[in-house]
Symmetry: D2
């Protein structure tokens, strides 16, 4: 039985806690920490059967019984806490992004490497049934050589402006998942990025220095071309699709819905909208990524999303940001 | 070049005329007849390049240059005109039903047989791309032994009550096509029929002695079971679907639409309704059935829908009618 | 916190146990009983955090702390155990069928009624997201008056012959769910049944006195017509679809799949097969039915599937069986 | 009755001839010309009822009875023949591209303008039922402000290398239709283009100086972003899809198939591949564009695809070509 400590009791920390309780055999949560230990948190932890609630994550790191930690605290603490955890000999599941700064990520990876602990980054969409089905076809060779990789990723609604201001920008906050998806589906590295973007959803987003709509072209090392289209607001729901096209065929996914019901009436033939909320849409994948993390500890196998998988999307985002600012394609080597 | 005469210049006679002009190489229309030769008809015939317009179909039968006739006149004249045409040595395409009376149909088939002319019945749906695709799978053996054959056939709107009164009843007017489809798709003969029906669309239809909604179960000679569901009114359009299920798999068709466009909005994900009108839905099949009829003349091959194919659906309709009246399954041998 | 005892630790008893542990807040399992208490069962119960494992269900009934029992034992014990449980003042969730004998069911319902305990029958499909989406449209009035209700229900493979022999026949074992579904979706009672059936999948099933393929027509009190098609073996997987058609439109569901991935290649455009196994397909509904049962206890509201809902499908199955044997439609009043 | 002359009796010239004969009421073909008048051509023309076959298009231009010409000759003759035709007072339907050289196109437009004749360019896809359904939603305001316009355009197989060498390059030969589609669907002008391309299908295409795979990003005057993905070879058929996404929703089309049949078997759930050949896929649109051209003459209304619609895609192609060569986004003003 792997004993786990959760660092950060916000939304994602609790999602992972529930996953471990319900779906991950072979793991149990011994402690959770948060900078604010409220009554609500204590009562929630009790209901989850979590024995200890700390206001200092170091108590988790100091507990010799705890094998692994999930770093679910605020983004700016991911790197330092991961470093401390590695030095304490804990296996680490770190929420994305590891850090917006590539040098800090590299520092984390160095420490992790020396400590010899497992390190997995929270790109949960790799564990989604739909995207995994694409990847399975690619791996099976059914697509042949990949030529085109397309990702459509549109949020159901723009975040509050206050969030936009501290989000690090759409590429780091939202598209980062799509950058990872392009790498995952293609099995190749991005070498150059061209980003076209605009403020079409909400002018306030523009005033905050960000964009809300983008098309990003990515040249890959294997010659294939990736393309992502993003919007902060799709009124019909959370639009999450992908396609890989290659020499032997293509595979694409459509959106998940709450039911397969189709209603035919005078107004048309009406199917359900995509699932609206990312937790609803990706719940299964959050559980699966933790299950795989625990498995890699138990079986001493490499993690499914390793340190480099945490670094590369940040480099791509840096290149995309530079491309947008300078109006030209940018090589990853230019930002690294 | 096969020379054709059209007997009856109503809707279906004109549909066939246009098909021959546009799509059927190797045939040309020499004459058309109708009991009412209006100016409009003459001008229409001129625009179609049809040289002769007669008020008496006998002139067509007497023209030695004419090889084949299309009997598109009113239902009660199908049998006598077909008999005369066969005796005149003309190949015959006869609109369905050949006659509501099974003995008259047999008389027609006898005369046709003795005359050695081709005889094809107008069950156009056999030539529809969707139903043909099902049949192709059945013939290819992809379904294995057929176990279940399902036909959904719902009109977009009920006909006028005046029409209902003279239609011969829903089974003879509408379901007759579905009876043929069950035979066509299964490749087997119907031996017993059970019909459950009701008046759910319009009480006036009930007052006229007819029904507007039905589920008909058909036991087939090969052991398979057929089932048809009918409604006189589907508010979303003309609903025409079928499925064959067997030991190796199943094949089913959905409705044709005017475009593949799907609109996603706050109200849902909206596709187009089925094509609304039978001419729009089945236009291609009307052309194809005539092309096949002409081919069978040119190549001296059996017609695709022969005399027995004209007889059996009428026997099934008789059994269905009796089943409805007596509230019990009825064998075809009981009505024959 | 509602305390629950599980009677019967077979497949479905364990499914419900897992549901309560994972998904049903407000309930906990205090004890489980089985006629065979193996080491495996004890270790499984421990892993689920179930404190007590008994070899006699009476210990559960005698425990004053236990509020509710789930009767998951073999079919022939459903009725007597339910009666004892009701007399012990326990709320009862009873797996389907309550009993194959209608009089025994009525006896159970009488006792339950007098005891004033909750009673819910395990027709889990009512809680399935797809069928519920149909029902929601019906309730919302989007379909108008229902005219036709169609259920396609095909198993992925026939059960072993040994099971067939003791199953009570396909109508009681498999179609019973579909009989319930027709009632649920139509909101009306069945008054007459006509069943056409055959042995097309496996002759051994016929030798065992059962059928493996059927089409059943059901006349409903509100005038609508229901139709079910069944097969014991669909090679492509578990085929579970339904449609309600009415005066204002139609709503239909298709099968659930493991992903939305579609693969386009030289061989065709290939989507995933339906989920294969009933537990996989209906897992969510098993959890939901227990959640609703617990809710009805907590809120003292009527259960979602009541005693009459347990009785009617058995009457329909009796009528279907008689119809098959006598080759004629059978009224429910004839078997009641 | 509008009298038409066809200049060029190759594949597309004959397609238009058949369209006029079969579908375009109010027009008839008086003459066809080709630089090679073979016996086959004469016999084909006779079968189509075309009275005159010339080896010199000037005879068509000199015939005072002829109202309109269809310029279907080789690309390099489009401009000079159009100029002569305009000077002869003929209305002109000109196949795309008008000319690869933007200055020549402008010269044609000037002459046409002065002559006051109708001029329509052969971007037939605007008349396709699927793309038109998207446009109808855009025009109706159902999409709101367009934000993203996506076009997927993949050929079923690469053309012969000999053709590639003289094609003018993929952007001028194939993508030109997609450039037009972006303008048509968005209702806005392209201001900047970035093209990423590669040789992934066939290295011979690379040796011939061309590419076979591309992703092209287009910035539009209204702020929206367009993106096209192209491949010369999709093994599953002719892949022709589009999507417009905006503030109120999105509309997308999928491919047309020969039937709606879906086959479920152990291998999967298999639908038909897209229609393979462009003539098969777009036949309806070829007829519709000619019908609209004739209508604009009869009713003296502007043509649906005017001179500027002929010019802009060529400018976009020039920018795309320059972008590909220089590895940077190129403004249309740079190539104009």
């Amino acid at each position: 039985m792997i004993k786990v400590g959760i660092i950060g009791a916000g939304r994602i920390g609790r999602v992972h806690s529930e996953s471990i309780s319900k779906y991950v055999k072979g793991a149990e949560i011994k402690a959770i920490s948060d900078i604010k230990v409220t009554e609500e948190l204590q009562s929630w932890a009790a209901s989850m059967g979590i024995p200890h609630v700390y206001d200092d994550y170091r108590k988790i790191l100091q507990d010799p019984e705890i094998d692994a930690v999930l770093v679910c605290s605020s983004t700016n603490t991911h790197a330092p806490i991961s470093i401390e955890a590695a030095q304490a000999g804990k296996h680490i599941f770190c929420e994305k992004p590891v850090d917006p700064n590539k040098d800090k990520i590299r520092e984390v990876l160095d420490v992790v490497d020396k400590a010899g602990v497992k390190f997995q980054v929270g790109f949960n969409r790799r564990f989604d049934h739909n995207f995994k089905a694409i990847k399975d076809r690619v791996i099976a060779g059914d697509i042949g050589e990949p030529h085109l990789i397309r990702v459509t990723s549109r949020d159901p609604d723009a975040p509050p402006i206050e969030y936009v201001k501290v989000s690090g920008g759409m590429f780091f906050d939202m598209t980062i998942h799509d950058f990872d998806m392009i790498r995952y589906l293609s099995g190749s590295e991005v070498v150059e990025v061209y980003a076209a973007g605009g403020v079409l959803v909400n002018p306030e987003i523009g005033k905050a220095g960000d964009i809300d709509t983008a098309v990003i072209t990515l040249k890959l090392a294997n010659g294939a071309i990736g393309v992502i289209d993003n919007s902060r607001k799709a009124v019909y729901g959370y639009d999450q699709r992908a396609e890989v096209f290659g020499s032997k065929g293509a595979v694409q996914t459509s959106n998940d819905t709450n039911s397969t019901a189709v209603y035919s009436c005078e107004a048309g033939v009406i199917a359900e909208k995509p699932k609206y909320f990312f937790l609803e849409r990706y719940m299964q994948s959050f559980a699966e990524e933790i299950r795989c993390f625990i498995d890699s500890i138990v079986n001493d196998t490499p993690t499914a999303v390793n340190g480099n998988d945490g670094l590369q999307p940040v480099l791509i985002a840096l290149a995309a940001q530079k491309s947008l600012e300078e109006g030209r394609p940018v090589k990853l080597s230019e930002v690294d």
